[in-house]
């Protein structure tokens, strides 16, 4: 009994919910209350599940601090910053319903989170540039074609391309508006079929990857 509860019943839920989504799409022009309700549940469950990654991260830093592991000071710093931001945010929310109504939370949000968010995400600009010189080689026909197309698109994306040679925008735009389309469209079509294959295996309960790291109980 317990094995059915741990495996077959789970796959049945996946399959049933998937079929409900199909039934709504193909047989209900407006919307179907059953599918709409389940979708609304999925939104809420997804929302609650977002805390999972956080729990693991907090566990890791609490252990790091307790056991004085290497660089434990940074784990302590993490916990302090996390608690201050969490409490001030919740205080703001419980007070007026909008977290940023709390002065400390709003100040940290605008003056610490915003610059750090932009800075961390933009770091890739550095890496692309050094990789372009040190690693991007036309080692074969594939890579050569890719680099030629890439350079023309780069120079046609920047207005300066036209100043260098009037042909650049024309060739660059051909690559952007025609040249890339078959390759990208092939990824689209093949990707769609890949998603359907993966969903179909999940529908039949043949996809072990989802359930808690795929380990069989």
């Amino acid at each position: 009994m317990s094995n059915i509860l741990k495996r077959e019943a789970v796959f049945a839920v996946t399959g049933l919910v998937t079929v409900l989504m199909f039934v709504e799409y193909f047989f209900f022009p407006q919307d179907w209350i059953v599918a709409s309700t389940i979708r609304n549940w999925a939104v809420i469950i997804y929302n609650i599940s977002l805390g999972l990654g956080g729990v693991r991260l907090i566990q890791q830093h609490v252990m790091g601090t307790q056991r004085r592991k290497e660089n434990w000071q940074f784990s302590a710093l993490f916990l302090v910053a996390f608690v201050v931001m969490l409490l001030t945010g919740l205080a703001g929310y419980l007070g007026t319903g909008v977290a940023t109504s709390n002065g400390i939370y709003n100040w940290l949000f605008v003056n610490v989170y915003t610059p750090l968010g932009s800075t961390a995400y933009a770091i890739t600009g550095f890496y692309i540039f050094s990789a372009a010189y040190r690693a991007f080689r036309a080692r074969n026909l594939d890579a050569a074609l890719m680099l030629v197309a890439g350079c023309f698109v780069i120079l046609s994306n920047a207005p300066v391309g036209e100043v260098i040679w009037s042909g650049i925008p024309a060739i660059g735009e051909w690559f952007r508006f025609v040249g890339q389309v078959p390759g990208m469209r092939a990824f689209e079509v093949v990707g769609a079929l890949g998603m359907i294959a993966y969903g179909f295996r999940a529908l039949l309960g043949k996809e072990r990857g989802f359930y808690a790291g795929g380990a069989e109980e």
């Binding site: 709409s36 909008v98 949000f109 550095f126 207005p159 300066v160």
Partner: protein, 278 residues
């Protein structure tokens, strides 16, 4: 010293030298601007014309989705701002929403960048800020069929029942056009659950990286218009005749793009020479 080992020496330059050269190159044009003209391409023109003139009537409802966060402001905010201005000037009513934790900051920035347009608009009547949502594709599909379950209230916790605009917005039937600006997948959710399922007019104010994957959908008519990256933002600023952040950034884009193409060419010339020698 034969030219071949110059390239070997250049190849082993410390990575940090490249980083300093790039960062300085990006700064110089802000101090000494050049201001080259920006040519408008068809996909951006279709986006602008699709939300102006007789394609939008006063009172129509448009959804504008902040699918980008503070980290992509320089890429998406300029184009997003121009589209919001254009829609307001056509008398459209706008529902702002977003899938990022910092959507409130993006909304504040928009209200500041387009303050003249927001000045003569009434909150709750001409526009509403619904704020953050989560739930991935399920939430976007649910927004199409029963919007009030995804957003029982706006960002300021005012229940939908007390917001005039929300009385006319319950699902896809009430929406004339959806504009999504994404670093992530929400644009493709609107594509599958709104445009693909109900034929809603959809356009993307996209990041440049997604330009290649978005463009075939524009060609197939799934997107009626498409702006690609900060270059698209600069083109939209040309179309609305109000130069802004994207136009200012174009000079740095020019300098840095020249630099990377030179780097690729230099590297490969050295590589081919050393391969011929070997």
């Amino acid at each position: 010293m034969s030219d071949q080992n110059i390239f070997d020496k250049l190849q082993n330059i410390d990575r940090r030298v490249f980083y300093w050269v790039l960062f300085i190159t990006l700064m110089v044009p802000f101090i000494y601007p050049i201001g080259l003209p920006v040519k408008v391409v068809q996909n951006t023109r279709d986006l602008y014309e699709g939300i102006t003139g007789d394609n939008i009537n006063p009172g129509d409802i448009a959804i504008m989705n902040f699918g980008y966060g503070v980290s992509a402001w320089s890429e998406c905010a300029p184009g997003f701002t121009v589209c919001a201005k254009a829609l307001f000037r056509e008398g459209a009513r706008i529902v702002f929403m977003g899938s990022q934790y910092d959507v409130e900051l993006s909304m504040n920035k928009l209200m500041n960048d387009a303050r003249e347009d927001f000045a003569n608009k009434v909150y709750g009547v001409d526009y509403v800020f619904l704020g953050y949502f989560t739930g991935g594709e399920s939430a976007i599909a649910q927004l199409a069929t029963d919007a009030w379950t995804v957003y029982p209230s706006d960002h300021y916790v005012t229940p939908d029942a007390q917001i005039p605009l929300m009385q006319d917005f319950h699902g896809w039937q009430d929406v004339t056009v959806v504009l999504s600006s994404d670093t992530g997948d929400v644009g493709s959710y609107f594509l599958r659950q709104w445009q693909g399922s109900h034929g809603t007019r959809l356009a993307e104010i996209g990041i440049a990286m997604n330009g290649s994957t978005d463009y075939p959908y524009y060609l197939a008519g799934n997107y009626f218009g498409l702006s690609i990256g900060s270059r698209g933002g600069a083109e939209l600023e040309v179309l609305i005749r109000e130069p802004g952040e994207a136009t200012t950034a174009m000079d740095s884009i020019n300098a840095s793009h020249l630099l990377i193409v030179l780097a690729v060419i230099l590297a490969n010339v050295g590589y081919l020479l050393s391969r011929r020698k070997a």
